[in-house]
Symmetry: C2
């Protein structure tokens, strides 16, 4: 956020959310910070503004306070390898699980097949080896956990998805999802069923449901909230709550994506590959060393700093220390990168050991579709 030619100092990187104000004013997403008084041990991702917004998450906190049943629902699209951007969501899930919240993980294999046209055997493999195994290695527990493939659910779930179709017009579908196709209809109805089915008697009776998503997913959430309203009488559904996080930037300054291997460090990358990727990452450094000494770096623009903020520096004082050293021009990018690589490799090495063990566990945690 440039103001009079100067960058607003912002160690938490709030300023990186484009359309931040619009999300709040136009779409009714509320700032997450307003909830801090109600949260005893906020996650670093909350304190650091990565989780920046919410809808009705206060109701979730109240329900927890009243000891009522709460579930976190999230869907994985099993389309590629897991990177540090995904880890951020996994970290949230594990945090909530440790708070005693039920965790429900939907593997969006129907969408992956129908819309992304992935081969079924491959998407099943990715779900197990990448998503579930990494989640376990990151610390996901088997308690309060249900993982399912969309295509392997039971009748009430599918009945829900098909019932939803009665009350969605072609016009409103197209307004959100563009051209209406059979594949998109199928994917969208099942996604809504993912979020809302935990509220049914058939799945343990009503519980509050929330979904942690990126802001880009908010149209799905608004759609699902509308559906819940339309079936509040007939099926007792209620609006799901949601939290909104920003995404890590790609190492090259673009979007971090599994389909652009140089934009992301994968949790299964060989150590030397991961190190080389981080060493080449775009930073907030100046054109020359002299300039950087004089003006200081811009950590807000730096993907190495993002690695610290999201992953590598859990203690706030360590993060602030780096932030100000960079800002004051005391820490140059080369030195900083070496430090980040060292921390990352230490973490990755440990993680990859756990990952190998977790791969054997993964298929015990979910029923695998027969085709």
């Amino acid at each position: 956020m440039e103001r009079n030619g100067e960058i607003k100092l912002d160690p938490w990187g709030y300023s990186q959310i484009a359309d931040y104000d619009k999300l709040f004013s136009l779409f009714g997403i509320r700032p997450f910070r307003e909830l801090f008084p109600k949260i005893k041990n906020p996650h670093n991702l909350m304190k650091r503004g990565v989780i920046f917004g919410h809808r009705d998450f206060d109701q979730i906190l109240d329900a927890l306070e009243r000891k009522e049943k709460v579930a976190l629902l999230t869907g994985f699209m099993p389309s590629g390898k897991l990177h540090f951007g995904h880890k951020m969501l996994m970290d949230q899930i594990i945090y909530y699980q440790n708070m005693g919240i039920d965790i429900i993980l939907a593997i969006a294999d129907i969408e992956a097949y129908a819309v992304r046209r992935m081969e079924r055997k491959e998407l099943i493999r990715i779900a197990l080896e990448e998503y579930i195994a990494n989640a376990l290695a990151l610390g996901l527990q088997k308690k309060n956990l249900r993982i399912y493939f969309q295509s392997n659910m039971d009748a009430p779930y599918y009945r829900l998805a098909s019932m939803f179709s009665q009350k969605v017009t072609a016009a409103e579908f197209s307004a959100i999802y563009g051209e209406i196709t059979p594949a998109k209809v199928t994917a969208v109805l099942h996604q809504a069923a993912d979020i809302l089915h935990p509220m049914l008697e058939e799945y343990g009776g009503y519980k509050y449901v929330f979904v942690p998503v990126g802001a880009d997913q908010d149209p799905h959430l608004r759609f699902t909230r509308d559906i819940a309203d339309r079936f509040s009488g007939e099926l007792g559904l209620r609006r799901p709550a949601s939290t909104y996080h920003r995404f890590m930037t790609g190492l090259d300054g673009g979007k971090m994506s599994s389909s652009r291997p140089d934009s992301a460090i994968f949790l299964s990358d060989p150590l030397e590959v991961s190190a080389s990727k981080l060493m080449k990452a775009l930073t907030g450094g100046r054109a020359t060393v002299e300039e950087q000494r004089r003006l200081g770096g811009e950590p807000e623009k730096c993907s190495v700093y993002e690695m610290y903020l999201y992953h590598l520096l859990p203690r706030d004082e360590d993060l602030l220390d780096i932030y100000w050293k960079c800002r004051r021009g005391e820490l140059l990018c080369g030195e900083d990168k070496k430090m980040a690589v060292e921390k990352m490799l230490k973490w990755l090495e440990e993680h990859q050991k756990k990952l190998e063990q977790a791969k054997n566990e993964a298929e015990k945690l979910v029923e695998i579709p027969s085709f």
Copy 2:
């Protein structure tokens, strides 16, 4: 079929199928009669031309000859009371069941709910009390029989429906079904899954499937055959076969429909109501008695004659006797109607006794959805 002002004599009523030739030439439906040499005990509905066409039914007959597994699949739309038009389909089902063919009855509750917007409790009641109970009273056996609600199936069935969506474009969907809506997409994909799921390993392994339908349903069949082709490699699906029947005309000369109670005699109509409906039915009689004595009646245009042909006169010689007496002006409509009413009441009285007993049996034959 008027020829030089004269009606072509046609005791079997073939001439009543509009666009008959078009179905054969343009859409590739084959005349059912060509199969007669292969059918040992053809049903009256075959001999009398009610079942007039087929696709690949020769393959079904060959499979039966080779003692391979064959299933008949049909779907019921549980939207209203059962009438004599429905009985004609039930009679076919029972005929095939007695030949040793597996019978699979899909209750199209997803379509009834999503597209026809029926209330779920009501459609479940109609499925049980009208469709299943009447089928049992008509003679459907419990052997080789599977009845299911679409919304109460298991994962492989739904997986199939959702997979189909990958290979159906919006353009081809619209070409068959008009405007594409979420509800229609849902209904159509499940209908295709109804027809094709019995071929999967999960449902007892590959079997030949055929579907007895009215000619108006042929677009669905062509669509489903296309889908089967597209999944022949991935899932081993094959084109379903089909037979085509014409429908009974309504008693008033219009369409016979549950939604127009005077157009149809319901199998549960009180006897006096059914009698009164038949007495008022449109016949092929002339303007005056004198004229009818002189010119003879036109049984091809007569809904009472249709009752004989479809239901009340199983012996061909009895049917032909009536036909020629009417044609020669020997049998007038009043007398004829009394005879028909007498036969119908005798049958209905017997049927309704069985129906009462069957109502208790119906819910034992199918798993009922929890909502």
